[in-house]
């Protein structure tokens, strides 16, 4: 089986024998992983092996699943009370003296909620990480509240979750589910998981699936109606809870957790753009979050003194974000925005001093770790070296922001071949190198990610003053769209950002072709002053970038003029062409 190197033991309790597997050093904090339906403990194999070098990892097959035996008779043998007995028996065997850190997925999380909210487990659980499995008691109260005060929004939430629960109703019919699982459904299930849930193929699900699924139907029949009708009023968590919510979950609405703070104070929320089976599809991210949460609750002191408080801290906490051109302007503001959301930031710039400054400030405002790298994005070899270094030292990048760019203004005939080469090297080739190298790492890891390319409003607004710059940015825009199509199937989003006139130092470093040095200086100064008068702050563009990642937007025009031009390029392109002929006031 895929749990290689696991030490197996059997725990006898309440008429069943549970198969318990252990990995890692027993002197380390114990992490207990509880699987869901229709699964066995092997659903955790990817996560467990990642946790094993730091923790004592314990997995067990829930009664009736995997290698554990089933209760006789099945009816009434799967109540939450009995599942709690099982849990306590396992914990007594593997960690009799110290409380354990609990992690549950799907039904594993549903029953773990019972464990952390009943009195008899108090002091046995140090922390609980929940994913895709609400407490039935909280769920019951959630429904009651909405039925009692049926505002349109609440009715919508009820109906939404009601539709997502279709399989729960089916599982309550007698015999049919068992027949289906032991027959065609059991056979087709691996393919369904691959196609619909994007679970990578491999040694999961295990051959025991038909029996697991057939027995597990009693989890629903024994508990759901009873608990939803009469939810407990004292279901307060007695351990710190971390809630991981996959946003693309087909079975559970994220609205279910809206009032969870009332049951679990100091709740830590995490969100993932993924489907239901995150232990299979996002093991790296889960292992990182579990590790962080266990450490935070093991020592009793927070791991660091600056904790990210940004709006999207639930989404980007601990993620690795690489920003090019992070030494100034939009790049720097973007690095700060991700830092505020708790991301680990790699600030890349050709100016080492400003990159270091960005990294230093990032650490101050919430980045657990931040590094500066001095690289010219147009240098292919340097970029390859950077990609290698990042992969070995920091890991695979979760969000890549190809932002570095330079300005070039002047008539087409004044623009020399060298000018063209320079602007294309940075603005286009820099993006190509970034996507090629880091995008490849992302795709090979197969656990999603996001690429943001900074294009420009000039990508769709022609101008006689910016032929080379606009060409390079139009190429970036199209590159982003094509790449988005190619990577869509792998859970990797690609966004193109079109800022518009933003008050950054691009104006004072821009090249003005066809004029002498003195005139160039004057135009730089004049354009810097005009951009200063416009005064659109790069921070707002950074917010738009973070939002684009969260919402997986394809093309994001930012400033009002960029949005206006974007609309006009669709509906009145002739007007844009007229604007293109105008001389800029420089």
């Amino acid at each position: 089986m895929s749990l290689e190197g696991a030490r197996e033991r059997w725990v006898r309790t309440g008429g069943v024998e549970l198969c318990v597997a252990e990995l890692g050093d027993e002197t380390q904090p114990t992490v207990v992983l509880v699987h869901g339906y229709p699964d066995s403990k092997e659903v955790w194999s990817e996560v467990a092996t990642r946790l094993a070098d730091r923790f004592h990892v314990v997995l067990y097959d829930v009664r009736g699943h995997g290698s554990s035996t089933a209760p006789q008779p099945l009816r009434g043998g799967f109540t939450l009370e009995k599942l709690t007995d099982d849990f306590l028996a396992v914990v007594d065997a593997v960690s009799p003296d110290k409380p354990v850190h609990l992690v549950g997925h799907d039904w594993g999380s549903v029953q773990s909620w019972e464990f952390v909210t009943v009195r008899r487990t108090e002091g046995r659980i140090a922390s609980f990480t929940s994913m895709s499995g609400p407490s039935l008691d909280h769920f019951g109260h959630w429904i009651k509240q909405r039925v009692k005060r049926p505002t349109p929004r609440k009715v919508g939430q009820l109906l939404g979750q009601g539709a997502k629960s279709w399989y729960v109703y089916l599982l309550h019919t007698p015999v049919l589910p068992e027949l289906a699982w032991r027959g065609p459904l059991g056979k087709q299930w691996p393919k369904i998981l691959q196609r619909v849930e994007k679970v990578p193929s491999g040694d999961y699900p295990t051959p025991s699936l038909p029996t697991d699924a057939a027995h597990g139907a009693w989890l629903y029949r024994d508990n759901v109606r009873a608990r939803l009708n009469r939810p407990r009023d004292d279901a307060y968590a007695h351990a710190p809870v971390q809630l991981v919510t996959p946003l693309g979950d087909a079975f559970l609405s994220e609205r279910l957790y809206d009032e969870l703070e009332q049951w679990a104070p100091q709740l830590v929320r995490r969100t993932l753009p993924a489907k239901h089976w995150i232990p299979r599809t996002r093991p790296d991210q889960l292992a990182a979050w579990i590790t962080e949460f266990v450490h935070a609750n093991e020592d009793g002191v927070p791991v660091r003194d600056t904790v990210a408080t940004g709006k999207y801290a639930d989404r980007f906490g601990g993620q690795l974000v690489l920003v090019t051109g992070a030494g100034s302007g939009i790049g720097r503001a973007t690095a700060f925005a991700f830092a505020e959301a708790g991301a680990r930031v790699i600030a890349v710039d050709r100016d080492s001093e400003s990159a270091a400054r960005t990294a230093e400030m990032s650490r101050l405002i919430g980045s657990p770790e931040a590094w500066a790298e001095t690289v010219d994005v147009s240098d292919e070899q340097a970029m390859e070296k950077l990609a290698e270094k990042v992969a070995t030292e920091y890991g695979v990048v979760d969000v890549l922001v190809n932002n570095a760019g330079i300005g070039l203004s002047g008539s087409f005939f004044d623009t020399t071949a060298a000018d063209w080469k320079k602007v294309l090297d940075v603005n286009l080739w820099g993006v190509i190198h970034g996507c090629r190298l880091f995008g490849k790492q992302m795709a090979e890891r197969g656990q999603g990610g996001h690429i943001v390319n900074t294009a420009s409003a000039a990508a769709y607004q022609p101008s006689k003053a910016l032929p080379a710059y606009s060409t390079s940015k139009a190429a970036v825009l199209m590159l982003s769209e094509c790449l988005r199509a190619e990577l869509a199937g792998q859970g990797i989003g690609v966004s193109a950002i079109c800022p518009g006139f933003v008050n950054t130092n691009i104006t004072s470093t821009a090249r003005f072709a066809g004029v002498d040095a003195l005139e160039e200086k004057r135009r730089q100064k004049k354009s810097a002053r005009l951009y200063g008068l416009r005064n659109y702050p790069p921070e707002k563009v950074a917010d738009a970038i973070v939002r684009a990642v969260v919402r997986n937007q394809a093309v994001v025009p930012v400033t009002p003029e960029a949005r206006g031009a974007h609309l006009m390029s669709r509906f009145t392109p002739k007007a844009l062409r007229a604007i293109a002929r105008m001389e800029p006031p420089l």
Binding site: D305, M361, L364, I365, P537
Partner: protein, 280 residues
């Protein structure tokens, strides 16, 4: 320069220095009394009362207090938003106290930044303000146009990764002139500004307009002139993602040929300067 003039100058400077020290003493005393739950209005009133007890009767402007992200003037659209609100101080929050008392006819205008408990971000901002104090003095001694100095300060802020928040002040000023004020038995104020001081500022503006200078040190064309002799209250204000920090103190500009004497900070024994010295 004759001795009589020097004496007269130093006597006058002593008066300004005394009131500036008094104002900073007030800021430190009030800052020490700030507790969680104190509102901006209460903090402003504490400053007002502390100074009134020590003989202050007139103001260049009434005391301000800003807490939390209001130290960086987040979402400030109209000048009324500068006035103290009912925002309460919380642990770790940054705050800025800004007051401009007139004492015995001498004006001070000071800004004091701090935080309730630890705030590493504001500590960093405060430490980085030192470079601005040096830059401003150096370039004033070089007699660079004020508008260019303003732009250089701006560039330094951008390089440091900060936003220019003095841009939010009326006319976007980084500094303004202060002067002696006649003591009157009744000293009303208008929108928080003392009428006597406003009168002085207005007369400076009129004179300056004729001679091509302005008592307001702004990013605009009317500040495109070399430093004008007199006393300037300089207030560079840094902002960084919801945290702000500033200092404000008087810079003395003279028409001396000697660069050292042509411009100098009125007082080098101030809380923020002492703090930089301690950190070294």
């Amino acid at each position: 320069m004759t001795t009589a003039v020097t004496d007269e100058l130093s006597a006058e400077l002593r008066g300004f220095r005394e009131v500036q020290r008094l104002a900073y003493a007030c800021a430190e005393a009030v800052a020490a009394q700030l507790k969680p739950g104190v509102t901006e209005r209460e903090a402003a009133r504490m400053q007002r009362e502390w100074l009134r007890e020590r003989g202050v009767r007139d103001w260049f402007h009434l005391p301000f207090a800003w807490f939390g992200d209001r130290t960086a003037f987040v979402n400030f659209r109209i000048p009324l938003q500068f006035f103290p609100t009912n925002r309460r101080l919380e642990p770790g929050m940054p705050f800025i106290l800004d007051m401009a008392p007139v004492h015995k006819g001498f004006t001070a205008d000071i800004g004091y930044s701090g935080s309730l408990g630890l705030n590493p971000v504001q500590d960093k901002l405060l430490a980085d303000l030192e470079a601005h104090r040096e830059l401003i003095l150096r370039e004033v001694r070089e007699r660079r146009p004020l508008r260019e100095i303003y732009e250089d300060v701006d560039r330094l802020m951008v390089r440091q990764g900060y936003a220019n928040r003095h841009r939010a002040y009326p006319f976007g000023v980084i500094a303004h002139k202060v002067d002696r004020v006649k003591e009157r038995p009744w000293s009303p104020h208008l929108f928080g500004f003392g009428t006597q001081s406003l009168k002085g500022l207005a007369s400076d503006a009129i004179h300056g307009h004729r001679d091509g200078w302005s008592p307001l040190w702004s990013p605009y064309r009317f500040s495109d002139h070399p430093p004008q002799p007199g006393l300037w209250a300089v207030e560079p204000h840094l902002g960084f993602r919801g945290t702000g920090a500033k200092f404000e103190e008087i810079l003395v500009v003279t028409d001396s040929k000697d660069p050292e004497a042509s411009a100098f900070w009125l007082d080098d024994d101030l809380p923020h300067v002492r703090r930089w010295a301690e950190d070294k």
